[in-house]
Symmetry: C2
Subunit: 410 residues, 2 copies
């Protein structure tokens, strides 16, 4: 939880955290500010103190709206810094941060750097700043021990926002199902009123429209992949592919609140009209693994334990798994799930057996998404829902949506 942030900073022996980059689509920034329209901002939080938000003069209103103490970059005019730097922009930029750090009294110790922004420029700036403030040590939170650790357990307000996104997502899934099944079929191809085939791109346009209408966005696109594409987990689908009966469709939708807020993640696998026997078998196996693993979820266990269980179950069915071969392309080829919040992928990680910070616990929010992929057979199946752990340690699905493989055509 956010309220544990200071404790995690102390545990990591960090003297401060520093988030840099834009105000939106920058999860660390959104977590600490709420996410205003800021082209560039910096949040600096000294361990045990309130965060300070540094902002451009034009963005003072957006900065003030965050409720944080603010510091205007205009206090340290670029013109003067460039003069001091003899025209060197890197030096002038590093001087801005030197002034800010001195202003807030942070001139020695370990500073964890966060923020989604230009990697090369930050690296160069930190190296230069290091020369000016040699007693500061700039580190990355490579173990996800601080900010992602705080984010890994959600409070009631966050759970509510994620549930609202879940509700929105199943509304869209329902509309997509209705949209598909209301189409005319000619020679097994879904056909539009103008006689042309319904394409993946048509479905995606509808999805984008409904997401916008309901107040969400999908910065990472939507996976709507049919046939062979469904057999490649992150193939997002081929825009010109027609929608045909009897082929597996993997529909994985993971939008966030408009402006880069909380995500939700859900996958259904459909066959329009009918399912080939082989697809039905794969589907039943994935569903049984899904149900089995969900029934075994338990707090105090590392998420990776359930990835292991999933591999056990699929291997017992005769499928190859990624546990046996990390380069696997046919069988069970990915992780069982991932934490989810302001990042589409965050803690708990399902792959860190030896890192107990990935335990399932009250406030955990994560996906469960077993799948089987056989691109060479032109099919794939994945089933996914987002779960959370209640304060009492109970596992709950945020929202429910039917899992049927076959969508009968109207």
């Amino acid at each position: 939880m956010k309220s544990d942030l200071d404790q995690y900073l102390k545990d990591y022996q960090a003297d401060a955290l520093w988030v840099t980059g834009p105000g939106k689509h920058n999860p660390a920034m959104v977590y600490l500010t709420g996410g205003g329209h800021m082209t560039q901002a910096d949040v600096i939080k000294i361990t045990g103190s309130e965060a300070i938000l540094c902002h451009a003069p034009m963005e003072r209103d957006e900065a003030a709206n965050t409720g944080l103490t603010t510091l205007n970059y205009s206090r340290f005019p670029l013109k003067e810094r460039l003069k001091l730097a003899e025209g060197n922009r890197l030096v002038a930029h590093a001087l801005l941060y030197k002034h800010i750090f001195e202003e807030i009294g942070l001139t020695k110790g370990k500073v964890i750097v966060y923020g989604r922004t230009d990697a090369g420029k930050v690296h160069a700036t930190l190296n230069k700043l290091q020369e000016f403030l040699p007693d500061l040590d700039f580190v990355g939170d490579v173990d996800d021990a601080v900010l992602l650790q705080a984010m890994a357990t959600k409070g009631a307000e966050e759970i509510k926002r994620i549930r609202n996104m879940g509700q929105l997502v199943i509304t869209v899934i329902g509309r997509v199902a209705d949209f598909l099944t209301s189409h005319h079929v000619v020679n097994r191809v879904l056909t539009k009123p103008d006689g042309s085939p319904l394409l993946i791109s048509d479905v995606k346009s509808q999805i984008n429209l409904w997401l916008a209408e309901l107040g969400a966005e999908n910065p990472e696109d939507t996976i709507f992949a049919i046939g062979r594409d469904a057999g490649v987990p992150h193939s997002s689908g081929t825009p010109n592919d027609p929608l045909m009966l009897g082929q597996t469709i993997v529909f994985d939708i993971f939008p966030c609140e408009k402006g880069g807020g909380y995500f939700y993640d859900c996958t259904r696998t459909w066959c329009l009209g009918f399912a080939p026997k082989e697809a039905q078998v794969l589907f039943d196996q994935v569903k049984s693994v899904y149900n089995q693993v969900v029934s075994e979820l338990e707090t105090g266990k590392n998420a990776a334990h359930f990835q292991d269980r999933t591999c056990d179950l699929f291997e017992a069915m005769g499928h190859d798994t990624i546990r046996q071969n990390p380069a696997l392309e046919s069988g069970y080829v990915h992780s069982l799930g991932h934490g989810l919040g302001l990042n589409i992928h965050e803690k708990p990680w399902f792959s860190r057996k030896d890192d107990d910070s990935n335990m399932l616990q009250p406030g955990s929010v994560f996906t469960i998404e077993p799948g089987l992929y056989y691109p060479e057979k032109g099919m794939g199946v994945r089933l996914e829902d987002t779960y959370y752990v209640t304060p009492e340690g109970k596992f709950e699905k945020f929202v429910d949506y039917p899992m049927d493989l076959v969508l009968p055509m109207n």
Copy 2:
């Protein structure tokens, strides 16, 4: 132009460029790959050679779609790297890149790092990698001398895509104007059919819907700010503010192609029903400066020259300008414009008088957006269009939309 990239790399004495981060909403990555759905990717381009795309096994289709030579991360399994690294994730991560760089034969020289991703983790990884490959020097393109320099002149296909976005933007602006003026007015407040006031948030919802319908997204939100908010350039507007007659509305819309492609940027200032005299005076002044500056645009001149001209013109009218005081909040408080492409802000910069790489030249795409802001008077005016320079050196507006201040109510 992209075809000049090798020349810019040579001029900068760089041996390679390296773009890291996600496939989407990462302009450097989109520029070099076209922007597929990849959670994490790396593009490495040795100067004078073709770019190589490193990708996760699950994302091999999306990677292949880029047409680049690909290298699958699964070649260097995490498990083995973690073993070598004795469980240290930072070391294991740096080892991935050590292996990749060795594989492609890049073990000494200057590598420019790009990519919108977690700043702290990259910084830590680069420092560790530096230990493994001490003859490589990882730098940031702080002078925007290479990738942003290539991006600063657009080819015909890019111009076409930006023009399409422009067409889409003015379609949305027209719909917003129709939407607003079709409302009933009660006591100077626009009123919805249910009798409640029309709010900024209602207008923004409509805008988001239309953008999605037309195939765009607005990752950075839209500025729709009325009254005092219009007097603060980057205030994006207060959601619960009602739409009232006779107040300046700054409507600044800057969406991009769905998935994080090319942007377009346009601003109109409106008063619904009527304009107070003072607002009309400001508007006429901004419009006259806009027209004057546009008439003076000339290739071979630094963009900053036109910022200077704009300050001359506004100062002659009695307004304070940011040239006189960088912390200014009333008057002309920002820059005349900015280059635009896959980034909403890119080269040419309008603030680098001494850097001739910001000259206007064939292929330049940039905004012209003078404005005047008086938050204490509850008003602001900005007018903006996006321009480009033809191969023959002519300055053209991408699309046209009326500039009238007053929108008469139906």
